[in-house]
């Protein structure tokens, strides 16, 4: 018998396989949730970066006059200090942007499309956007300026909401992990009550007895965590593969931020620490009921 190890081998315990299996499922779910939270966060950041500091100006009028007017505006706008780049979006480019949504070339060709000016600012900040908008309005009062903020904020709010839901899911998984370990530890205490009583009566300290259960919970949880991560790896690969098939215009390429990768790798360890504390607390509480 190894020194300090008094419990029967875990393979003889009915709870051992249960804990490992449940932890594997919970770590899998936590992995999905953490990846979702991280990816959505990165996606919002990607949208934010690509949109901040750009403006789209719609020039009203019929096709012939609006493009001439747009060229005139571009010439003046380029001299403004806030502007880094200003270009009229060609009619073919506008039609190209619409093609994925409308599809029919003839229909698009017949549409009375306004001229668009794509503007990039030197400094991507709300103040710079404000100044540039005012200056453009001073040049042509009837243009419509879209700084993409409204729709971006709504999408970002929605995405952040999803991200919070994912994090809540992860928190619930970890909460379920605590309950699982507490339940399993209590079941083990019942299973090994005779062993515990004998250890107690021959003078084993509570901390010693509790650590036997805690380290067992740690081993079972670590195995469960590793199995959960192994199962999660192909799921992550599949999700990544499917995401990459989506058009860049709809969903920009997103990579999971490094802290989330670290979080994923640490999931089994986090689960093990939670299991250690939960088991230690549970056993000590039960032992405190003995004289």
């Amino acid at each position: 018998m190894a020194v300090g190890s008094f419990l029967p081998p875990a393979r003889r315990s009915m709870m051992g396989g249960f804990v490992t299996s449940i932890v594997a499922v919970l770590v899998f779910i936590s992995g999905i949730a953490l990846t979702a939270a991280g990816s959505i966060g990165a996606l919002v950041e990607s949208w934010n970066t690509s949109v901040t500091g750009t403006l789209t100006v719609q020039v009203p009028g019929d096709v012939a006059t609006s493009f001439a007017k747009a060229n005139n505006i571009v010439t003046k706008v380029r001299s403004l200090p806030e502007i880094k780049r200003a270009e009229v979006v060609s009619k073919s480019q506008v039609q190209e942007l619409l093609r994925p949504w409308l599809g029919n070339d003839k229909l698009i060709a017949d549409l009375p499309l306004p001229a668009l000016i794509d503007i990039e600012l030197n400094t991507p900040s709300p103040q710079s956007l404000e100044r540039a908008s005012s200056a453009i309005k001073a040049i042509a009062a009837d243009v419509v300026i879209d700084d993409h903020r409204v729709w971006l904020n709504r999408i970002a709010d929605f995405a952040r909401g999803l991200s919070y839901v994912a994090l809540a899911l992860m928190a619930m998984s970890l909460g379920a992990l605590v309950l699982t370990v507490v339940f399993a530890t209590r079941a083990s205490l019942t299973e090994y009550i005779q062993v515990i009583e004998v250890l107690h009566l021959v003078g084993a300290r509570d901390s010693h007895i509790a650590s036997q259960f805690s380290w067992r919970a740690v081993r079972q949880t670590l195995w469960g965590g590793v199995f959960g991560l192994i199962a999660f790896a192909p799921a992550l690969t599949a999700i990544t593969f499917l995401a990459r098939r989506i058009d860049d215009g709809v969903l920009p390429p997103v990579s999971l931020p490094v802290p989330y990768w670290i979080g994923l790798c640490l999931l089994p360890l986090i689960a093990a620490v939670i299991a250690y504390v939960a088991a230690m607390t549970t056993v000590r509480r039960v032992l405190s009921g003995m004289v």
Binding site: V3, L201, V202, G203, D206, V291
Partner: protein
């Protein structure tokens, strides 16, 4: 060991015994006798700190067990050796590991432990069963393992609940001789028994528990 008006009851049931007063000196050996149901096992459970008195004061090694901290109670337990009536061997441990358990709990080195446990197992006649699991042992063999586990740390107080109940006369005498040896080495020993022949054979005073009271009676006859 000092009992001052000690009583014990389980939850709302009547007292098993009440107002027991008794002082037992160190280095003494007593039989604990009395009819079945008199409370011998309950009295022992107070002494090995499985229970606390519901009234009165019990002092072991100069410490009031009810007032002692948890850590102090653990230290008291480490000075006790208990032979349970139902042995309470750990089924997943070998004979050797069962006997070595109290030594491992107190952190004895493996080298010392190997020597002490081996010697003791030879002494109780279990030399060929070091690696056997309790499940394959007879009642008498289990009894001897339980006794070896109780005395392996050379405790100051040895409590034995019917330690010769499942062994033949020759083994019973040998086990009693072991208790006598430990008593001579300085331990206080209390042996609860129904075995009147053994009580007569070994001339030691008796603690007789009956009707909720305890009396210290002289030895029945001269033996050794």
């Amino acid at each position: 060991m000092l009992f001052e008006d000690v009583s014990l009851r389980y939850s709302n049931s009547p007292d098993i015994f009440s107002e027991l007063s008794l002082t037992l000196p160190a280095r003494s050996l007593h039989f604990l006798t009395g009819p079945s149901g008199a409370g011998k096992t309950s009295l022992l459970s107070l002494l090995y700190l499985a229970k606390l008195p519901s009234g009165g004061r019990l002092k072991l090694f100069g410490q009031d067990v009810a007032q002692a901290s948890r850590a102090k109670r653990t230290n008291i337990r480490r000075q006790l050796g208990v032979v349970f009536q139902d042995y309470r061997l750990l089924d997943h441990l070998s004979v050797f590991d069962n006997v070595a358990l109290p030594l491992r709990v107190i952190g004895t080195t493996e080298e010392t432990l190997q020597q002490n446990v081996s010697e003791l197992l030879h002494w109780v006649g279990l030399e060929g069963l070091f690696d056997a699991l309790p499940a394959v042992l007879s009642g008498g063999q289990k009894q001897r393992v339980a006794i070896a586990r109780a005395v392996v740390t050379r405790p100051k107080l040895i409590l034995a609940d019917e330690p010769t109940g499942n062994v033949d006369d020759a083994i019973a005498e040998r086990l009693m001789q072991l208790f006598v040896e430990l008593h001579k080495l300085g331990a206080c020993v209390i042996v609860a028994t129904h075995n009147e022949r053994m009580v007569e054979r070994f001339a030691f005073p008796r603690l007789h528990l009956d009707g909720g009271t305890i009396k210290v009676l002289p030895a029945l006859a001269r033996g050794n």
